[in-house]
């Protein structure tokens, strides 16, 4: 194992982690604001990937350029989901909430299965096959753009949460729903917005990964399971921590796999996950 290989694995890990981070942010946002785990989150990502694929296959749009389209469509899907599925169970028992997002998972996954069959499909992107070499370290154009896109998307979300009145109201709502209500901050509209933003993040991530990853009805799990680990690592509901968690997970995955055996890389991810939860139940950057 040379230093060059080790460094390369860290760079590869960061590239991969950037995307995991964006997915984790989407999960963490809903968790933080509504205390709700969206088990169906990976399915939104999968649908975004199908949208990207068909935009490429039908209209010849380069996958990366579909980002605005998938973001808007998935935003709408999130708002719709909130209004039709989530709102009715929000005041119900936690079990009903878990079941409802799990039901969504089944619905979204098997609708895709029926419509698209379990075939792997992949958009061909010139960008994805290009290779960028910097100081002996190598990344593909597709990964680099996905990494940069993830950082831009998460930064935009952070800026929104930190500096806009609506963003502050979302944070206020997350911290104390009743107090927010007493100040006229109506949860319903903001919850819908949070769902829209969360699924829009899945929309962006879906378009970003499509240049280098195939899509099939089960592909959501490939990203969601590491993202859950990133969320836990970053502190449940801590959107900022989720990004950092994603980067750590990416490096653990690739560098860990390279240093030991690639077959165990997912196991390493969960080992770190369980270890952190054991020592710091609130997550590495939990509050």
């Amino acid at each position: 194992m040379t230093l060059e290989i080790a460094l390369q694995s860290v760079v590869s890990g960061l590239m991969f982690g950037g995307v995991i981070g964006l997915v984790a942010v989407g999960v963490s946002l809903i968790w933080g604001i509504m205390d709700l785990i969206n088990f169906a989150y990976g399915e939104y990502l999968m649908w975004s990937m199908y949208l990207t694929f068909f935009l490429w296959a039908g209209l010849g749009i380069e996958p990366i350029l579909t980002v605005p389209i998938t973001a808007v469509v998935l935003f709408g899907a999130g708002v719709l989901t909130y209004r039709s599925v989530i709102r009715p169970v929000l005041r119900g028992p936690i079990f009903a909430q878990i079941l409802s997002t799990f039901g969504l998972l089944v619905l979204l996954r098997y609708t895709a299965w029926l419509l698209f069959r379990p075939d792997d499909r992949q958009a061909q992107s010139a960008l994805a096959t290009s290779v960028v070499v910097l100081g002996g370290l190598r990344v593909s154009g597709g990964e680099l753009v996905a990494f940069a896109g993830s950082l831009v998307a998460t930064t935009a979300l952070f800026a929104f949460l930190a500096y806009t009145k609506t963003g502050k109201a979302l944070r206020a709502l997350a911290q104390d729903r009743e107090a927010a209500l007493a100040l006229g901050i109506e949860p319903d509209r903001l919850y819908a917005l949070a769902w829209g933003l969360s699924t829009a993040a899945a929309g962006v991530a879906g378009a970003l990964v499509s240049s280098f990853m195939y899509v099939n009805p089960l592909v959501g799990d490939v990203f969601l399971l590491p993202a859950f680990a990133a969320v836990a690592l970053g502190g449940f509901g801590n959107v900022y921590g989720a990004v950092a968690g994603g980067l750590v997970i990416g490096v653990v995955n690739v560098t860990g796999g390279t240093l030991t055996m690639p077959k165990v890389k997912l196991a390493l991810v969960y080992l770190v996950f369980v270890g952190v939860l054991f020592m710091r139940p609130k997550g590495l950057w939990g509050r």
């Binding site: 009145k165 502050k168 109201a169 944070r171 206020a172 911290q175 104390d176 009743e178 107090a179 927010a180 209500l181 007493a182 100040l183 006229g184 901050i185 109506e186 509050r287």
Partner: protein, 239 residues
């Protein structure tokens, strides 16, 4: 009367908490609501503030029926509520907490000016405006909550036990601020468990028991009333 509560009944689950309660607050008054635990004091404020719509009865602001309106609608009419427990947003800065106080107002230079004015009112907060609210003491949190409420220029300010859990000196300070507010034209309806102190600052007071008004009168009168002293002030020597 600015605020009139007439024969209000309200239910928590299967429990009747308010059982035909009637209360009135005139413009510019400070009115205190006293009574033992479980008498329905907090529930009364929640009913007025839109958190617990009454089962029957009326709540009127001037001549307008406001029973059953949502909190956000009531805020726009000038009914502002500060709840009993601490309700600052701990992870937001003091300034952001105040901005949330003005949430229903469109952003404007006037809002900024109002925030500066509130910070002027509470110098302890002004110097730490960019710190998170979680670092504040109990009294400072109360001040922030009251300051937040002021940004909506309330016609009626509903305060639920504003001095609960505060050291006596701090409690005095809070009451001082409440008097200042009244002097500036705000009407206050407050629930207090520190009856002696409440009666000292209030114009009038209602004593509740089991969801109904038991005694009503001017603050100073009730303070000296034997019945009230026995029942609610514990008959102990004045502090």
């Amino acid at each position: 009367m600015l605020l009139t509560v007439g024969d209000v009944h309200a239910t928590y689950g299967r429990f009747d908490v308010l059982r035909g309660i009637s209360v009135g607050v005139a413009a510019g008054e400070i009115v205190a609501v006293l009574g033992p635990n479980g008498a329905g004091k907090s529930t009364l404020l929640k009913a007025i503030a839109g958190f617990l719509p009454p089962r029957q009865g009326s709540i009127r602001l001037s001549d307008e029926e406001i029973a059953g309106l949502r909190p956000s609608a009531l805020l726009r009419k000038g009914v502002v509520y500060v709840m009993q427990r601490s309700s600052v947003f701990p992870k937001l800065t003091i300034l952001e907490n105040l901005e949330m106080g003005a949430y229903i107002r469109p952003s404007s230079p006037e809002v900024k000016a109002d925030i500066d004015r509130v910070l002027g009112l509470f110098p302890q907060l002004a110097g730490r405006r960019h710190q998170r609210a979680e670092g504040l003491s109990g009294g400072e949190r109360r001040m922030l909550e009251i300051g937040r409420a002021l940004l909506l220029h309330p016609k009626v300010l509903l305060l639920d036990e504003p001095t609960m859990g505060l050291a006596p000196l701090v409690a005095d300070l809070i009451f001082e601020k409440i008097l200042e507010l009244r002097a500036a034209g705000t009407t206050v309806l407050m629930v207090e468990q520190n009856a002696r102190l409440a009666l000292e600052v209030s114009d009038r007071a209602y004593v509740l028991e089991q969801g109904q008004v038991r005694v009503e009168g001017r603050g100073q009168e009730l303070l000296t009333s034997d019945a009230v002293r026995r029942a609610y002030l514990g008959g102990a020597a004045p502090r």
